[in-house]
């Protein structure tokens, strides 16, 4: 089990294990999908040397201590093993028994020729063979005679045992960089071109000393395990070449990661002569990667016609300060381990050692310190040191361009936030011609930003891939719709190529803007991929905006831009392709529509800040005859402000409907249940329920004649009834049959009785583990995000015969509207200010601005409850016509079917109300009318419901009667306050209050 998980992740893993009994995928992999083991390649080393030499290494070189140091900073779980043999025969014997990662021959073993020995070993194994010796002349001779290159490296030794470690490190890194793609992309490379055995042996020791010191110090920096692993992956690596051809190859392969170059000015060329190519090579690198530190060292003089740029330095090999220069050079290449941000007096404001420190510094240091740090490019340098190159480049640009502290801070914060956000999302892959869009993959066309909605989707995909595995719900696969994203750069190119920025769009009507955009052409760079996608996609598609200013989680900009639903029905790919192109262009156009312009004006943003990506998604569902719809669509909420049936608010609630989710969105008939207690009935008797059960549902009409410009969306939808559903064979999982003689509902469809959509087979009898899956998803999302969430989903069965289905998550969003807080704080009852106070309130939030109150007069006799309905209806209609919300106050159970228990209004009679107050009726405490259809309408309309008790908190009728009367009916009065009332409902604690306005106190 990895220890690199955050607390949040651990909490979610525990919850998932507890709920499903299965460990989620994230617990089985490390942060970047690899274990520490993958970074280790050399574990077994064979040393062939005389016992004397080995003694020298062990004692004088303090090999054990060095190994221990090497072991500890590398954080290795498996220690390095060194085996020593003294003779050739022992060597062969050991090689026959086991495989070694590295063979080191120390000096010339007695009585043997090194090259012959190495040749024999080479015939039997491809393990690298290193020769370490002390006599330079002998080593050079051996190097010259080694025509077949049996020796991988020849090094010289001056008694420093670290040469062994340097050798091991050199080969370990070379192997890892070649075979580990993740490592090769992240590590930082220093290129060393030197053919002299003496010099490169010395340099390797010097360089590794500094690198080990740097890493060792980094490990002591109080980093998390995750950060340590990241640092190890991004550690500096030395690439050694003996000539320029080899050096060039290494440069070409790893130039992206290059942090510096040390090169001789001349080496032996392939043809045998010596070539002075060092300066040429340096200039070439400087041209391609300006600013790269380069150190040229030579025994001779460096001749150059023009002055060298500052990053290219020269030192003579005869200079006694050569070792120091080399050390300074590598430290310059490594960059600062941490930065100190100072003010103008030099006083240290803060020290930045890791990414969190950097983020905090950007947010908190004063303006002066921020500008000072930016001028010195401290932030970007630090990020480069940590290997975050792309982020470093972005930050560098900001440091360079912005000189104003406030703007700089905003920009840096935004860049860091985007980086953070990107870490939480699933990788969005570029679309390939041969791409098979599979489960949980989102593909992109273009190289720009994804925009808010697409980021939200990739977050969803990541959530599912981290915590849900296929074996948790064998019959139910949790997934997202197949999605492709046209990134924001496509929008930019489209605007430029069609010269749309030049036209004065703000003077045109929305229709004219749309036509202008649709007569343009999408960029050629995306057409092929888009067409290839359409060719493979035969389901209806929805084309949606994904602007960079949108935040799908917090719902800012929700509903501002347009979405287009396409039947995608034509047999001709080109028709479908053209429809999608037009839809994309229409969504682009909606960026400039009046609704968007007006909305953006109300935010701190400008219309120029908006860049539009576009999502193209398959609609969830299946084809039935000429219609398309999912078996189930729904909305699940992790917090229920209208709890019923003994469920708590934090148990959440789920609404289900047959067919497209438009039913739920439009407030139509749907079924609801509590995911914590799915079998608890939230509706009264079956007879109560079936009156309001879903009888009709929405489906997409695949033969509809939908034209984008006309926006005749309604033509796309058909309203079907249960007979159609029966014919399509979808009712077996969603319906029960009501038998009036038993007054009971039986799950399934029978020939007699009435069909009722109650999802009993799924919810009561778990034909699909939908309730469990939704409960898990709601909880995981809530923990991950830290606030209550609402999830929109659909359930689809591709194969009607199969038991398997897909639970397709369409969207996830916060339950708290943008800019609002879910916590409402209400103090104790205050008769001076409170018109009424309830300790049994449903709903949540603050409602301001209401001045109209409609109340049933005190002393009212419930026998007359039926006649009250028409009075209330009249007042309600008048207020609704004026779009005026009001508070409704009356005794007993509102909406009750029994007129003795309450006023039997139906929802349309009181649809204009924002708050209902139920006052006590003759000391009888009536249970709130939860579970009925009336109650459902109340929830859909987000109407607050306060139930008062006699005594404390009951309605102040005296004050009501002092207010100016607008309408006075026989039993009902409509009054208006002087100043607006304040209604507060704390859904968490079930407390609500209506308070007088200032002038009315």
């Amino acid at each position: 089990m990895s220890t690199r998980l955050s607390d949040k992740e651990k909490k979610i893993i525990e919850y998932v294990k507890e709920t499903t009994g299965i460990t989620p995928p994230i617990a089985n992999i490390t942060e970047e999908g690899e274990s520490t083991e993958d970074l280790l390649s050399i574990t077994d080393v064979l040393v062939l040397s005389s016992s004397y030499h080995y003694f020298q290494i062990e004692e004088e070189g303090r090999l054990s201590r060095l190994l221990h140091e090497y072991y500890s900073y590398r954080n290795r779980e498996k220690p390095l093993r060194i085996s020593h043999v003294e003779t050739e025969d022992e060597c062969f014997e050991l090689l026959n028994k086991k495989r070694f990662d590295l063979i080191i021959i120390f000096d010339k073993p007695t009585g043997s020729d090194v090259l012959t020995l190495a040749g024999i070993i080479r015939k039997n194994t491809d393990t690298p063979i290193i020769l370490i010796g002390s006599k330079i002349s002998e080593l050079s001779e051996i190097q010259k005679n080694d025509k077949e290159k049996v020796l991988s490296k020849i090094l010289t030794w001056n008694g420093d045992g670290k040469i062994i470690l340097a050798t091991i490190q050199l080969f370990d890194d070379a192997f890892t960089i070649k075979n580990n793609q993740s490592f090769s992309e992240q590590c930082r490379c220093l290129l060393l071109i030197e053919d002299s055995i003496q010099y490169y042996s010395t340099y390797l020791l010097l360089l590794y000393d500094e690198i080990w010191g740097f890493l060792s110090a980094t490990m002591q920096d109080n980093l998390s395990e995750e950060q340590i692993q990241r640092q190890l992956k991004r550690r500096p690596v030395i690439l050694h070449a003996s000539d320029f051809e080899e050096g060039r190859k290494l440069y070409d392969s790893y130039k992206k990661n290059l942090i510096g170059v040390i090169t001789d000015n001349e080496t032996i060329s392939g043809t045998g002569g010596r070539k002075q190519l060092g300066l040429e090579f340096a200039l070439m690198i400087n041209k391609e990667k300006p600013g790269t530190p380069i150190l040229i060292q030579s025994s001779g003089v460096l001749k150059h016609d023009e002055p060298l740029s500052d990053n290219i330095k020269f030192i003579s090999k005869n200079d006694i300060t050569l070792p120091l220069v080399i050390k300074d050079f590598i430290n310059e290449c490594l960059g600062p381990r941490y930065i100190q941000i100072t003010d103008s007096t030099g006083k240290i404001i803060t020290v930045v050692k890791n990414f969190n420190d950097l983020e905090n510094a950007v947010l908190s240091i004063n303006d002066e310190g921020l500008i000072q740090a930016a001028c010195q490019h401290l932030f970007s340098r630090c990020l480069k040191t940590w290997g975050l190159y792309e982020l470093s480049d972005e930050i560098y640009k900001a440091e360079f361009e912005i000189k104003n502290a406030a703007d700089l801070r905003t920009r840096l914060t935004s860049i860091i936030e985007n980086y953070r956000y990107a870490q939480t999302q699933v990788l969005v892959k570029p679309f390939e011609y041969a791409s098979q869009l599979s489960h949980l993959e989102i593909h992109r066309i273009g190289k720009g930003a994804l925009g808010g909605k697409a980021r939200g989707l990739s977050f969803l995909a990541k959530l599912i891939s981290k915590y849900i595995s296929d074996d948790m719900f064998p019959d139910l696969r949790i997934t997202i719709p197949r999605t492709i994203v046209l990134t924001t750069d496509v929008f930019d190119i489209f605007m430029m190529q069609n010269k749309l920025y030049d036209s004065n769009l703000y003077d045109l009507t929305d229709e004219r803007i749309a036509l202008k955009f649709m007569s343009g052409t999408l960029p050629a760079t995306v057409l092929g991929d888009l067409r290839a996608f359409i060719q493979k996609t035969r389901k209806p598609l929805i084309v949606r905006s994904s602007g960079v200013l949108e935040d799908s989680l917090l719902q800012s900009f929700a509903g501002i831009y347009d979405s287009i639903l396409l039947p995608n029905e034509s047999w001709e790919t080109d028709f479908r392709f053209q429809d999608v192109c037009n839809a994309v262009k229409y969504v682009y156009a909606s960026t400039f529509f009046e609704k968007a312009r007006t909305y953006i004006k109300s935010t701190p943003k400008n219309i120029g800040d908006e860049k539009m990506a576009v999502i193209i998604q398959e609609v969830a569902g299946r084809r039935y005859e000429n219609y398309f719809y999912p078996v189930v669509s729904g909305v699940a909420k992790s917090y229920n402000y209208y709890p019923a049936g003994g469920c708590k608010p934090e148990d959440g609630v789920v609404y289900l409907a047959l067919g497209l989710g438009k039913t739920i969105v439009d407030g139509g008939c749907s079924f609801c249940f509590c995911p914590e207690h799915p079998t608890v009935p939230l509706y009264g008797t079956p007879k109560d329920f079936i009156k309001y059960a879903q009888r009709r549902f929405y489906a997409l009409n695949l033969r509809s004649n939908y034209r984008i410009v006309e926006r005749n969306e309604e033509t796309s939808y058909s309203i079907l009834d249960l007979d159609d559903a029966k014919r399509h064979g979808v009712l077996d999982k969603v319906a029960s049959t009501y038998f009036p003689q038993d007054d009971r509902l039986y799950p399934g469809v029978y020939d007699e009785g009435s069909i009722v959509i109650d999802f009993a087979p799924i919810i009561q009898y778990e034909a699909l583990p939908l309730a469990k899956a939704l409960k898990l998803l709601l909880r995981i999302s809530e923990i991950e995000l830290g606030y209550p969430v609402e999830i929109e989903f659909a359930v689809n069965q591709e194969d009607a015969e199969s038991h398997k289905a897909d639970l397709i998550i369409l969207q996830i969003r916060s339950m708290i509207p943008s800019g609002k807080n879910m916590d409402v704080s209400i103090g104790e009852y205050n008769p001076e200010t409170d018109i009424c106070y309830s300790e049994n309130a449903l709903g949540n939030g603050v409602i301001e601005g209401i001045q109209n109150i409609v109340y049933v007069k005190p002393g009212f006799d419930m026998k007359n409850s039926i006649r009250v309905v028409s009075q209330i209806r009249r007042i309600n209609n008048a207020l609704m016509n004026n779009k005026t919300p009001y508070i409704l106050i009356g005794p007993g159970r509102w909406g009750s079917a029994d007129p003795c228990l309450g006023i039997p209004v139906i929802w349309s009679d009181i649809a204009g109300t924002k708050v209902i107050v139920e006052t006590p009726w003759r000391e009888r405490h009536i249970d709130p009318s939860q579970g009925s259809h009336f109650f459902h309408d109340l929830i859909s309309s987000q109407v607050g419901y306060l139930i008062t008790k006699e005594g404390k908190g009951n309605v102040d009728y005296q004050w009501l009667e002092s207010l100016p009367v607008i309408t006075d009916e026989e039993d009902v009065r409509h009054v208006k306050t002087i100043s607006p009332l304040l209604v507060k409902i704390d859904g968490k604690h079930g407390v609500g209050v209506i308070q007088k306005g200032k002038s009315d106190k």
């Binding site: 390939e432 011609y433 041969a434 190289k447 190119i493 052409t521 999408l522 960029p523 050629a524 760079t525 057409l527 092929g528 991929d529 888009l530 067409r531 290839a532 060719q535 080109d574 392709f577 053209q578 192109c581």
Partner: protein, 448 residues
């Protein structure tokens, strides 16, 4: 008048002995046949099939007498070579060139057959033209030439036989004259006779860009297969005509950097290449280019371009070389001047790389994309134009370019997959696919 007579004399000199003797050592038709023979060996084609495919099926040579503006009459030589039509009507351009030779045309017609086949179009290969220099002809004279050409060949071309198109020094206007004359002769409306028509008169949207864009689609996919990010690559292009410009356009859109283009300078009668390390700006170069494709040297230098001899185009340290001018640009004489940084040579022109140079490139480890695959975008779009014309229903540019992209991409992957499977060069793979399809068609029709 004297000047005109001099021009006429020069022209006569050029046109006498129409099929000029080939430059010593280079015969494009022999080269094309050599290439074919090698592939026929690999495919084990039988002798009759080889014999059928290594030579054109039909060749027409004819005189075109034209009354010039000054009243005199000149007789031009026109021709049309139809290489093979087993898979469908012949397709190929009409060129006006003073140095045109029959062997060049035969080679081009044969390459057209392979080109149409490799991208799986239901078309055969043809080519033709007139030996003339349109620089020396007025517009009216060119019109009479086009109409005269049709009068001579109308019996042997047509929407269902042979569909010409523009080529070197011919344009959409020439095609319209040809179409108009054909209709006058046959008495019907045949937009499918000819392709390359202007949009609005039967032409297809996207045709202008098609060859250049088609090349970049192939390049894009090849770079993906070679794990190279197009944004990090540089290119040098020979030429600055239609193919070169649109290649540069789309390549730059994808993020690549073009450091050099080259062109013929009419004033100095030689070629120059224009180099800018940071990357050329297409718009600014186009603004200083005349209608014959000559870039204004002085203006270019003012804009920061380095003017170099034309042959320098292939010596730059870039990742990609794109010969997009005439044939025979990379030969064994200059192939060693190509830098070691070059990883891809992708042929925008027809026959720009000789077989010897191809061998040398292979030894250097450079990936060569053959001309008849890389520049097939034009003929694909011509085919689309035919189809639209025949349906009398014209597509949007998105539809044309989207289809073009998919067609070229599919063609590339067919070639790439076979090359990987058989461990052979891309050019061999492309040839094998192309030739085998044509051979199969000939067999199925019972010809061999």
């Amino acid at each position: 008048m004297q000047l005109k007579q001099q021009e006429i004399k020069q022209h006569e000199k050029g046109t006498r002995g129409v099929f000029k003797k080939e430059k010593e050592g280079f015969n494009p038709f022999k080269m094309a046949q050599q290439q074919f023979d090698r592939i026929a060996d690999k495919l084990n084609l039988d002798e009759p099939t080889r014999e059928l495919l290594r030579n054109p099926m039909r060749e027409y040579s004819f005189a075109i007498p034209i009354r010039m503006d000054d009243g005199s009459v000149k007789v031009f030589r026109g021709f049309r070579v139809q290489h093979n039509d087993a898979r469908g009507p012949c397709k190929g351009g009409i060129r006006f060139h003073p140095q045109e030779t029959i062997d060049t045309v035969r080679a081009l017609a044969m390459w057209m057959t392979w080109k149409c086949s490799v991208v799986d179009l239901p078309l055969g290969g043809g080519k033709g033209g007139v030996v003339c220099d349109p620089h020396n002809l007025s517009e009216r004279e060119q019109e009479r030439l086009c109409r005269g050409w049709v009068r001579q060949i109308s019996r042997d071309i047509g929407p269902e036989r042979d569909v010409p198109a523009p080529d070197v020094m011919t344009s959409g206007q020439h095609m319209l004259w040809i179409m108009d004359e054909y209709q006058a002769i046959t008495g019907g409306y045949y937009p499918g006779l000819i392709t390359g028509k202007p949009v609005g008169l039967g032409g297809s949207l996207g045709r202008t860009e098609a060859t250049g864009y088609g090349l970049v689609y192939i390049l894009r996919e090849l770079l993906k297969e070679m794990n190279m990010d197009i944004k990090n690559t540089t290119a040098s292009i020979q030429g600055f005509g239609n193919v070169a410009r649109y290649t540069a356009d789309l390549y730059i859109q994808y993020g690549g950097r073009v450091v050099s283009v080259s062109c013929w300078d009419n004033n100095d009668s030689c070629t120059y290449s224009y180099y800018k390390d940071k990357g050329i700006k297409l718009d600014e170069l186009i603004k200083i280019t005349d209608r014959f494709g000559t870039i204004d040297k002085k203006q270019a230098e003012k804009l920061g371009y380095e003017t170099l001899p034309g042959e320098e185009w292939l010596k730059h340290e870039v990742d990609i070389l794109i010969p997009a001018a005439l044939e025979n640009s990379i030969t064994q004489d200059n192939v060693d001047q190509i830098q070691s940084t070059v990883k891809i040579v992708i042929c925008g022109a027809n026959g720009p790389v000789t077989p010897e140079a191809e061998d040398a490139l292979e030894r250097k480890g450079v990936m060569l994309v053959p001309d008849f695959l890389a520049n097939a975008g034009g003929v694909v779009c011509s085919y689309f134009e035919q189809v639209q014309g025949n349906m009398n229903y014209y597509w949007t540019k998105e539809e044309v370019l989207g289809k073009l992209d998919n067609k070229m991409t599919e063609a590339f992957y067919n070639v790439w997959d076979l090359a990987k499977k058989k461990n052979i060069r891309l050019s061999d793979s492309a040839y094998m696919i192309a030739v085998s399809r044509v051979a199969e068609a000939c067999k199925m029709r019972g010809w061999v």
